[in-house]
Point group: C3
Amino acid sequence: MPAYATNMRLKFPIVALVLEIITIILFAVFVVYDDGKGHGHGHSNETHPEENPMTLYPMFQDVHVMIFIGFGFLMTFLKRYGFSSVGVNLLLAAFGLQWGLLMQGIWHLDNGKVKVSIFKIINADFSTATVLISFGAILGKTSPVQLLIMTLLEITVFSINEHLVANVLHAHDVGASMIIHAYGAYFGLAVSRVLYRPALRNGDKNEGSVYHSDMFAMIGTVFLWMFWPSFNSAIADPGLTQLTAVINTYLSLAACVLSAYAISSLVEHKGKLDMVHIQNATLAGGVAVGTCADMDIGPYGAMLIGLVAGIISTLGFKYLNPILASRLGIHDTCGVHNLHGMPGILGGLAGIVAVALGKKEGQAYMQAAALASSLGFALVGGAITGLIMKLPFWGQPPDQNCFDDSIYWEVPEDEGENEGSLAHADHSKNKAEA
Amino acid sequence: MPAYATNMRLKFPIVALVLEIITIILFAVFVVYDDGKGHGHGHSNETHPEENPMTLYPMFQDVHVMIFIGFGFLMTFLKRYGFSSVGVNLLLAAFGLQWGLLMQGIWHLDNGKVKVSIFKIINADFSTATVLISFGAILGKTSPVQLLIMTLLEITVFSINEHLVANVLHAHDVGASMIIHAYGAYFGLAVSRVLYRPALRNGDKNEGSVYHSDMFAMIGTVFLWMFWPSFNSAIADPGLTQLTAVINTYLSLAACVLSAYAISSLVEHKGKLDMVHIQNATLAGGVAVGTCADMDIGPYGAMLIGLVAGIISTLGFKYLNPILASRLGIHDTCGVHNLHGMPGILGGLAGIVAVALGKKEGQAYMQAAALASSLGFALVGGAITGLIMKLPFWGQPPDQNCFDDSIYWEVPEDEGENEGSLAHADHSKNKAEA
Amino acid sequence: MPAYATNMRLKFPIVALVLEIITIILFAVFVVYDDGKGHGHGHSNETHPEENPMTLYPMFQDVHVMIFIGFGFLMTFLKRYGFSSVGVNLLLAAFGLQWGLLMQGIWHLDNGKVKVSIFKIINADFSTATVLISFGAILGKTSPVQLLIMTLLEITVFSINEHLVANVLHAHDVGASMIIHAYGAYFGLAVSRVLYRPALRNGDKNEGSVYHSDMFAMIGTVFLWMFWPSFNSAIADPGLTQLTAVINTYLSLAACVLSAYAISSLVEHKGKLDMVHIQNATLAGGVAVGTCADMDIGPYGAMLIGLVAGIISTLGFKYLNPILASRLGIHDTCGVHNLHGMPGILGGLAGIVAVALGKKEGQAYMQAAALASSLGFALVGGAITGLIMKLPFWGQPPDQNCFDDSIYWEVPEDEGENEGSLAHADHSKNKAEA
């Protein structure tokens, strides 16, 4: 089957090296260190040359951990897909942060140069988050080559929408409920729709967890949960505004845990808790409070947003995800619609209300336009990207090798020796090489 | 057996949601953002409105990691109880930090309001540590509903004792050897005594580790170990005092590792190292140096405290833990008596001596009173809390389902298929549903 | 076989406790807290007494995570050696940081005292990195007693070379490509050569990974990767120089990921990715950019260094490691030659070129002398240390118990019950006790 030529020996190295070399050339032409003498566009916390240029560094590192450990390990819940989850996450984010630095920098050139600061690399990390969210929707069903192409395109489109939202519409979205979470989720869902595989309709034996893969995923969950206040406050105005963003996020997440656990128990068999909900819906409070994080919504306001987000997200996992797959042909492996999509929209709506109530200077219709723009770019950009990814020469996995590391990774042999036990990679290894 | 109605479908969601909604209402009435204009009670580092309100944020995040990753993963050593360890840890801490913010705030109202700052959320995280320590003593033997109730009561009592120690007795306890570690340990032991299950006297087949569960636990150990200097210095006076607290803790922990490893090898079969000691006793130096951390005890003084703590803690695990269980009816799942209890008392005693020797301004008898108060509140509070938790309608697990996730969690099926191998959740699943 | 008396019951506790007690006595005599009144030797960022002494603390914690989680978990890839990897890593680093504080402090006495500051404990952590790198070369083939002795000697020699490089040659090595990475790697390789075991020539059944051990190792990889910018910039001059070090390292690592993945796919069977390369070669960019990190090499210059490092490192794992073992009798368990050795030399060479091109004030021949000095001290120091470690009474493991935790650790019994499955510790346990 030429369409399923999954041997990556030439395709992948060529694509990866060509992308990297082009990127280095563009960096040589356009990118310099920030010398602290810029006049800063668009962001008030970029305009204090007298300040220590390292002030934001601890927050950058928190965000960095979210991107590489948080997203990477969150996706390791699949029983045989951990290498890809954390490994391809690293690959995409490493390329994405370089590309994001360029794409975002284009809109803020200073004497024709992108001046790299801690602020800029935080934003570069942010841009990769969109890709990692979309990755979750199609986890297990795509090749590394396809995903590198998605990274290239998704970040390019993201930087256009971000510029529009921040600098044209002048909308608020400090924690990026709209421009990262909703955008990343619906972009990924659009790609997933285009790449839909009817043969996987009835589920795949590998599309589930084992005990220890669920434990690895909790590493991702907890690091995301802990550092989310940094995500939502890193680029907030310094001082009390930044403090507000931290406190709102801290409290929204805490309230969200209670509602996610409660609803999980309420809807599950015999009142048991479901790891899928715990791993994901506990984070919805961080997503949903994003847009409002730096607004004067009051601590209880943040908690209410978190409470609702936890409920919506858990119900989405339980009831909506199966419907999306069966009715709309949208198979969402990690349930990003429930963690990032709906809570992201909730965050955007909360932002409209909060601005309308005067919790932050701004105009409610601009907030609404920002939400619409983010969803529009996501759906159109994702659909086109999906069509490009569907071209038959990117090494996509055949249906029977989905959700299986061994098609793109050397997997340790010794566990394949005993079929009866954990047996992570044995069957599939044979399949892939057959 | 109605007393063992472990189906949580209604109980747990109702308790969790009611607690959260009451909390949100109290927040709406009492809690506002810190505007930097407070006049600060009791803590010198809260009284610098001109400072950046985010100064303590990196330390807050270190403490946050200790609470959620550190305590959460430290308890994942049990072969079939990882979901509960890290998952219920998240639940209790998420509720506890909200409740702690309220309870601690009551003693420091400013115009009738609790003003939330980074300092306050550090203390809120601290208050949850008492619960997570107590959780260790009863790990595997309680339901999430029981544990939420314990969280509510333990933090309430904690905030009374903390106020007494800090603001009435004016005792020093910067790293909280007494008010968190000793308090949390003896509170948990008192609960464990009241909830004693004679049927588990001879051990349970699930009350042990497997290779990878011990590895997960080491994630918790190492993160606790690394960030303990932040725990002990986060609320110290800024500047050189805070530096002293960092250095004392760093060195105490380092010395403690050597003595814990040495004693583990000395007392174990053929001189081998025991993971239980390595996972726990290596941390005793952080507990024991807590009270003295910001005192001028000299780097070697800190190391001596760590050395002794490592010895006492390891010996406690080896020789005292079995005696507590067999003679006193106190079954201490994680050995919190050895990690937090005795080292906490050692820390309190070291504080008395250090103050008597003039290493910090204060009065030795006030230090002694603080230690006594912490132990008294712990034992009485824990006993009463245990009696409340013993009421027969909180969904507590039957003896044969202790130390087993599958009674409260959906556990992946596939590992249950092969009885012979790791087989985390298979037997018990049947039992629980029988 | 008396030479293989692996019972550590007396040897290990005595060595560990004697070393710790001597260390505490030396601390009592020589070590005090930094009072901020020192006049600072050799490092410009140590000479600002008016500054907050905690400024570097967040970077210290990042480095701390690299040492204890990063190095510790990176080595857990072996199927049955995780307890030793993360546990002995903790032991060696805990002793090493105390010893390093003394040895490095000797060269910077202030009124006859070592004044401990955050800067000093960062350097103490750094000194342990050399040992942990060398540990990787001999992982699985040595006893804890041997490794404690290596720690003592390697850090002592390191502090001499570091003093020579920094204060006599006045060479630049801010990220320590030469004095930590190349030094640690070649020291370890020299030890490994001296301790060569011909019986292991054809590989050991335990010298490989299982699926979940590879996942644990990725925790180490990703934390090292994320926090490497802190490693390379922690002791850089404050302000824009430190920012430069962060950005260069961030970008070098990102480029390195792309080249490491590309080459891994290019050289592996069917274009698959190999976890050994992903776990290690993705980090080579951090090593190689170390010396130049604070130089004005331009963002693209850093990326080029990372690109080349990823290629060299991956090729080294694939082609050079087997040759070293078969031809030169150097068995390098973790491949430290490919991750730290060659990239460290590349970093040293890049530093020579960069200084020659005027990217930083200094003299190129001094840079070359620093590289030569680091390699010379490593090879001679490592060879002598290896000879001392070869003395037959340090409890070294017999060949058939190499790469096996159960010789020095109590390993959970229950997995030994079923020979067919993961069976981490069963065979070897019997062997060790036979």
